[in-house]
Subunit: 461 residues, 2 copies
């Protein structure tokens, strides 16, 4: 990485910057801005997670992939995180009889990493606190953002005292239900959408084995795909796994029809038989843990002149089916950092280039995430679809320079998301031309099919 | 029309209903609900428009078409409105040299009608006040909708007194910036979007001639199409016309570049030369009248159990380029009325069937309105597009049972909007197959083209 204190920044006097939101992206952003020599005030709504007890109903584990790592490397904290991250080399699919199929995510050595949201947030807050240029405040609930007067009204939830804090430049990194974005939404010509899936999710636990080891393969993301719903599990350091059930709100198999502990037990034994013996607290967890909704949030503009900028989920919350929510937020910091190196203190230019260049990419990522959900839900049981996936994998092995699978473009590259989406669509069009000629996996080797493939590949850059 | 007091309703005891919003759709809804025997409380934010002075910055004239008339007939007020409505038989296009082209809207006798928003609202409030079952309150600003406690907090803007009003059943007809919808938006899984065009609009005036007559053709909707922008004018009863300039916010010709009276005058003289002499107050109006934005609002669900229902712009605000905003809101009342006849006091069923059946249609209308804007903006200068429009008109004349132009389906029928959109798309596909064979208007009569046309028509129902 280049030296983060660039000559461009050094020529400018430090400024007072305000960040609302001390989650993963807010903390990382604080580190980046401080390394540019600025003084940062960071306000977080929740108590200090390092002192607090259990976390609230958000996903407990996250999958960190290349874009996320790159952003962590930019402030020199990747190695520290790597120590507490568990590599997952591929998907382990569990069928209804407990049978297993392993699909590697990429080539040898390519993995995504299971990290604990709380653990990562704690580690980053430690770094934030050690950073001389950052002042960190907890229990700061934002009651009002006044864009005209450039001030925040913050309620200290510990003392119940309210105060008004002026800002020069405000970074809204306060998540999917952002208070900063709410203020922008009350201005004219602010485009905004929130779209919910008809599915919710619930966190459950697979316990560690008595010896503290992992009761199922440690280095995999486990999936129990069931057509209209699915469960996944990511490994924790203590031998347990965090499971997430993605499940319809309504319908024959849905949250609406699982109303008693007996119904839950019977349902899980029927559809996830190999998981049930590993989930001793299933019934309790199912009714005590919240059912959370799945939303895609799009908005524009993200900036108000040189005064306000939205980043992370506040600007572009997505559904979790591609494992890119946190990675996209971290990549926001990478992009903003590059623009600060390029334009120094010309904040208006930095903010405008950020929103103009980044918006098409986060829109593309939002579409990819919903598309992956539909694919998992509707197509995973279609034999033609599974055959197509196998053929694509053969194609990629035969033409590695011409055909990088879409998943790898998103997960193991820093290609802009919009380009990945466009490439993926072009690849899908090729597959639609090839598949009518292919009825079995072996057909791929037939000379006439290989000829068609060669002709298609010859036209690719 | 069937007797509006149906036997179904008569079997049920009257209920207390609450309407928030006394604009055009709210007033009409009040009349419909009262005719079903209910007691209606209607709260309007603004002062009584019949006593107040000039109206706020909303479009002053509206185009009433078949769906609107049908809804007015349902409560027996169409004839009274017809007396103050001016029929517009077609579009009068003004070119940059003042040359005129007239395009009829439909067949002989088919017109849309210019009505004054304020005049229509006044007339409807008179009827509401005369209706025994309705209590009407002005100056009632809704500060809060509490969906759990089922109560409204209303501030009387005349006395500055606040009060809490409980509701049993609440109809949110409070427009594009609905307070009822805001409350729904804070509930989980509420889908919502607001999308603005990069265009704004400004109301201007063409004055009546000195003799009180109309200085340009009275019975037409006038359009000055200019590719990236346009002006339209609708006739008033007093001989004047209300003009609306639809204009980009930014760019070479835009609100941003017209900053002085001299710039406005020069611009209008260059692009609307025949209108300028009729607009003596152009410079004053341009800077005194607000620049209003153009938004499409979509949301879902519209109902909360049997307790709350959104209608009109609160549920589905659209851009004005198809002249269907008010007509769609009025048609909401027609549909709700039919459901009340069918299901009586089974409000949950009424509300659910309303939202399920109506939502695809208002979504389709929203798309049609934006599409018409793009068509007017981008395609109206394309000779191939104009040729296609002429061929479509010949097609419709030759096959009147097989080909109703999309505009007529929307404007002169009560075909559900979604079906009109689907029909329009099917017709567009046919035109895309025919047009490669057609280079001039006369080509339509060539035997080979007529053969293609006959083959296409044979496949239509």
């Amino acid at each position: 990485m280049a030296n983060v204190r660039s000559s461009t920044s050094a020529l400018n006097a430090p400024e007072m910057l305000t960040i609302l939101g001390g989650g993963l992206v807010g903390s990382l952003l604080g580190l980046y801005l401080a390394r540019h020599g600025h003084i940062v005030e960071l306000f977080e709504r929740r108590p200090d997670i390092r002192k607090a007890g259990p976390v609230e109903g958000r996903s407990i584990n996250l999958a960190l992939s290349d874009r996320g790592w790159r952003a962590l490397e930019g402030v020199g904290i990747a190695e520290a995180v790597r120590e507490v991250a568990i590599p997952m080399h591929g998907r382990m699919m569990h069928d209804t009889h407990g049978g297993l199929t392993f699909q590697p995510y990429g080539q040898a050595g390519q993995s995504i990493y299971s990290v604990s949201r709380a653990g990562l947030n704690r580690r980053m807050l430690d770094l934030v606190e050690q950073e001389p240029g950052i002042r960190l405040y907890f229990n700061q609930q934002c009651r009002r953002v006044d864009l005209k007067r450039q001030e925040l009204e913050l309620l200290d939830t510990a003392t119940q005292q309210s105060r008004v804090v002026p800002y020069q430049r405000l970074f809204g990194v306060d998540g999917a239900f952002s208070a900063v974005r709410s203020a922008l939404q009350r201005t004219d010509r602010f485009n905004y959408s929130q779209e919910f899936l008809d599915y919710g999710y619930k966190e459950l636990t697979i316990e560690a084995a008595p010896d503290g080891q992992w009761p199922i393969e440690k280095n995999a993301l486990h999936i129990w795909p069931r057509g209209q719903y699915m469960m996944i599990a990511l490994p924790n350091l203590d031998g347990s796994f965090n499971c997430t059930l993605f499940f319809p709100y309504e319908g024959p198999d849905s949250f609406a029809t699982l109303q008693t502990p007996e119904q839950v037990q019977a349902f899980f034994e029927r559809v996830f038989p190999d998981a049930v013996p590993l989930m001793p607290n299933l019934q309790t967890e199912f009714f005590e843990n919240p059912t959370s909704s799945l939303v895609t949030i799009r908005c524009f503009p993200w900036a108000v002149q040189d005064q306000v900028l939205l980043l992370g989920d506040a600007a572009h919350a997505i559904v979790p089916f591609y494992g890119q929510g946190m990675n996209a937020g971290f990549e926001d910091c990478t992009i903003l950092n590059e623009l600060l190196h390029r334009h120094g203190h010309n904040w208006e230019k930095v903010f405008q280039e950020f929103e103009d260049s980044r918006k098409p990419n986060t829109d593309a990522m939002a579409s990819l995430a919903v598309y992956n959900f539909q694919e998992m839900r509707d197509r995973v049981a279609d034999p033609r679809f599974l055959l197509q996936k196998k053929i694509e994998s053969k194609l990629s092995a035969q033409y590695p320079d011409k055909w990088l699978p879409l998943y790898s473009q998103v997960t193991f590259s820093s290609l802009p998301y919009a380009e990945a989406l466009a490439n993926g669509q072009a690849q899908e069009r090729i597959m639609q031309r090839l598949m009518p000629h292919i009825q079995t996996e072996d057909d791929f080797q037939r000379p006439e099919v290989q000829q068609l493939v060669a002709a298609e590949m010859a036209q690719r850059p």
